[in-house]
Symmetry: C2
Subunit: 558 residues, 2 copies
């Protein structure tokens, strides 16, 4: 909080003692809004081949001449179906079986895993079985409830990851968890509670029951994976940064306190390293056709950046800390991608007039701008670069003759939205620190991509896939302008949507994809950038923005 803020009467609520009745004004940009999470399911044709199938059974009542146990009568009926493996009952199934058999005169649906494990008994026939594809991001969660037989998405729900109160990035969460098992458990419980809330929302939307929700596949980065499963993540925060487990993990929903069908399991796609997680595996699964047999750079831009280079049947990957700036957090006027966020920016190079697009702003119901989200800041920086408001080194130009450049001693800021146009009544600006944060983030991703290409002896790539909640909304031209990736032709940059979540959905609906995921995890060769002798130098160089003079020489180095 600046001196000017204090002078203007602003106070931090957390630092203020209350002595009597007060009226608290929560400034517009601090108000909680429903975030627009760009984790909509991608449209991909999937032929379902689920792990759990329904068997419609008519179980005979017991009689004196046939006094078989409830389960054995059920099993006898299932033997007449195409069930090759003799089913094995979950204890929860046995507990509910007598009542369910009697309630519906023996007409039941048995949900059985291909490995024979009977995960549930439903008291009515012809109930569609459903599963959940869950994408756990550091910042946001997205869940899709899918019909396991048709592949159809029945409902979608998303939420902010409640762990954000323990820190915006994975490092702060690992640091908190490392204070002891109670802290790890606290983070674990918070995510489980949030997922249970998401499940409620999915059931409300779809009318599907918890008992019919018999499978779940999760993706997320290694820290989210560990905290979801209740594993100690401290190894992820200390060199040599190893996870507790990297292979795929299946665990009973009840062992996590998740309210699925009582016998249901949760399947986590495998991790690759302490920093490259199941989200990357999911994204690779969902984009196989895009990279298989080609030279492709896949970039997942989140609070952490993961970069994969597919080339000549090898998959190399690296990860780098990008900070939360590219998701709109920690910027001076940054905000999440919610209503009121500036998501696109155009600047006239002659007049320096700014145009912008605000999320949720439609002619019938205008929404004034509140702050800048991730795609907005990249767009804004690209536009400022193109208009000469900043130079290739990222410095704001002090001597521009425009009232949009605020100068206060050493502090420079460029006004995107004047006070009179904003929802807050104060100007929305981008200052030097905001630009530095973008430079750090894009520099790390750019350097990681270059070093992977160098390791593979690749000068140029066929395609760059931008994925992740944030990556998929970046404008390819803006990405090219700021040099986010070592590939300048915007037509080769493709946004893939939420590929990680799509991968979870694929693995949910087609169990062979889980095997494929395990193979991918073993194929991925991890390049530890912190050990690379030239990473720091490449990173420092990559913080510069491309400009006319350097662009040709940049191209020469490739």
């Amino acid at each position: 909080m600046s001196g000017a803020d204090l002078a203007g009467g602003w106070r931090l609520a957390c630092q203020t003692e209350v002595f009597g009745d007060v009226t608290v004004e929560v400034p517009e940009e601090s108000r909680t809004r429903r975030q627009v999470i760009r984790k909509a399911p991608g449209i991909r044709a999937i032929t379902p081949n689920p792990a759990i199938r329904p068997l419609q059974l008519q179980v005979q009542p017991p009689d004196h001449h046939f006094p078989m146990a409830d389960w054995e009568r059920l099993k006898t009926e299932s033997a007449f179906m195409d069930q090759a493996i003799s089913p094995v009952p979950d204890i929860s199934v046995l507990r509910s079986l007598p009542a369910i058999l009697r309630q519906n005169e023996g007409r039941v649906t048995m949900a059985v895993h291909v490995d024979g494990h009977c995960v549930g008994i439903l008291k009515a026939p012809d109930i569609p079985l459903a599963g959940v594809a869950l994408d756990i991001g550091t910042t946001s969660l997205a869940a899709h409830l899918c019909d396991l037989a048709t592949g159809q998405v029945l409902a979608t729900a998303s939420a902010i990851n409640p762990q954000v109160v323990f820190g915006e990035d994975v490092i702060s969460r690992i640091a908190h968890a490392s204070t002891g098992p109670e802290a790890t458990d606290q983070l674990h419980r918070s995510i489980i509670d949030a997922v249970n809330d998401l499940l409620e929302a999915l059931w409300d939307q779809s009318g599907i029951s918890p008992e019919a929700t018999v499978d779940m596949v999760c993706v997320g980065n290694p820290c989210m994976h560990h905290l979801f499963l209740g594993l100690d993540p401290s190894g992820l925060g200390l060199a040599p940064f190893v996870p507790v487990v990297s292979q795929s993990v299946s665990v009973y929903a009840r062992d996590l306190g998740l309210h699925l069908a009582a016998g249901a399991s949760i399947h986590w796609l495998p991790l690759v390293s302490g920093f490259v997680g199941a989200d990357t595996i999911g994204a690779l699964l969902a984009t196989t056709d895009e990279w298989n047999g080609k030279t492709v750079l896949m970039v997942d831009v989140g609070t952490n950046g993961e970069i994969v280079l597919a080339h000549e049947n090898r998959l190399r990957c690296a990860s780098c800390a990008t900070g939360p700036a590219l998701e709109g957090a920690t910027l001076r006027h940054g905000m999440r991608a919610a209503a009121g966020a500036i998501e696109r920016v155009w600047i006239d190079p002659e007049t320096l007039t700014v145009r912008y697009r605000v999320i949720g702003d439609i002619p019938e119901c205008p929404v004034p701008p509140v702050g800048i989200c991730g795609s907005g800041i990249i767009d804004a920086v690209a536009a400022m670069l193109k208009a000469g408001v900043i130079g290739p080194n990222g410095r704001l130009k002090r001597d521009l003759n425009t009232p949009r450049m605020l100068v206060s001693g050493n502090h420079l800021a460029f006004v995107l939205v004047p006070a009179e146009e904003s929802a807050t009544g104060r100007p929305i600006v981008i200052d030097q620190e905001d630009i530095r944060a973008v430079q750090m983030a894009k520099g790390a991703i750019h350097a990681a991509g270059r070093l992977l290409m160098e390791a593979a002896d690749v000068k140029t790539v066929d395609k760059v896939l931008l994925c992740g909640a944030f990556g998929s909304v970046i404008d390819p031209v803006a990405a090219t302008l700021i040099g986010l990736v070592p590939e300048t032709a915007p037509e080769r940059i493709v946004a893939t949507g939420n590929a990680a979540g799509d991968g979870a959905r694929l693995a949910l609906l087609d169990r062979t994809r889980r095997v494929e995921a395990a193979r991918l995890a073993l194929r991925l060769e991890y390049l530890e950038l912190t050990l690379h002798p030239r990473f720091q130098r490449e990173f420092a160089m990559a913080m510069f923005f491309p400009h006319k003079e350097t662009m040709p020489s940049e191209k020469e180095t490739r």
Copy 2:
């Protein structure tokens, strides 16, 4: 409570209101004593072939050039052992793994099931893995902690089944459980709590840790099975008397709230019918050499009686209610087999002088008699029959000229111990109702045995095996005298000890015995006596005691 008792100043505590300070005298026979449960492990040579084996591993620390996850480094080491199946981690193992690996510089013991499931990680090498064989009787529980590698019994603990407060026999417990899920859960929790207490006792005795206790095999009757697993037992109490499940059941200890190693499972041997349970399967497992290829009647005498007839490669079985009389309960001066219980009785046919043996009574420390236990009542009835105190119809002879026969109107009682010799200061007697209870019990067992022999077209058996906590302490001569089984030659009656518990121990130590148990369960042919047209008649006839006149004719019918 009789009028004489009331006149003598005796009051039921449960019927007495307290208005001021009182001194409560708990009569000797009501005091809780450590029951002498005859469930000592039988001595049988077992070559262990356990389901869970220890792998001693030295796990390498992670380094920058080998940044493998904790679990994957462990798995890599296990691949160098004789472990054919790649281990799959239990979630609890993953949760404890990082700390355990670091605490002991990577020297750990992995407990792994032959199916690959890793049930525990121990932080020291060379810790013996242990398992528990648990015999859950309607009245008593007995647990043996065994070294899975050597087969050695490391500790033994027993306790009263706490469910006795809900009724002495299975029918009353089923009736209580049938009042609703809360009642079932109450019975379930009470047995689980008692087993957790037994486990504590086993660990205290042996120094084995809970983490090293990685397997458990249970036997018990169908009602005990259902209540232990939390299954609704109401089907066991209603015709056609079907269990919820009869095949063997494996369930995670944590799903039952049992405090074994976090990833350990409990294995229940299979049931045969709603009345013939895993205890019978266990007894058959333990006595295979005794009955295989022979004509053998196996009788398990408990609150419920189970009878198996092995003949010409077929196994036929039946069950009957015997009531708790043969275990010493519900008799006028009955008590459990604890210190002070009369366990053997001799009566001089001339003088009617009674000699008896009391449990715990040794010359250095005399224990006066308190009551009569199960083996005592059979012995006493046999002795009374031999001495002519009762006739073949079981009636006490009113006209005996002895002060031992108390006559009070229609009420007759025979004094085993005069008031001045007893611990209670009151005579210990056997009255007509006690004898009726014994007749009912032995009549049911006798009739069941006869009908099984009739079904198999068998006139005589090679051997009678008496098993169960109580059956194995019956004196074969006394059993013959009262006609407990349709086989009169005492030399053919063999006590097998606690065969059910021995079967659990066999299945614990040798996993191939679990497969054998499943085969046995499928082989057993259950004869439902309540449906047999002649059971009531046979039962009524079998209530008579054998006497000189009937014995030859009894033999002729066979």
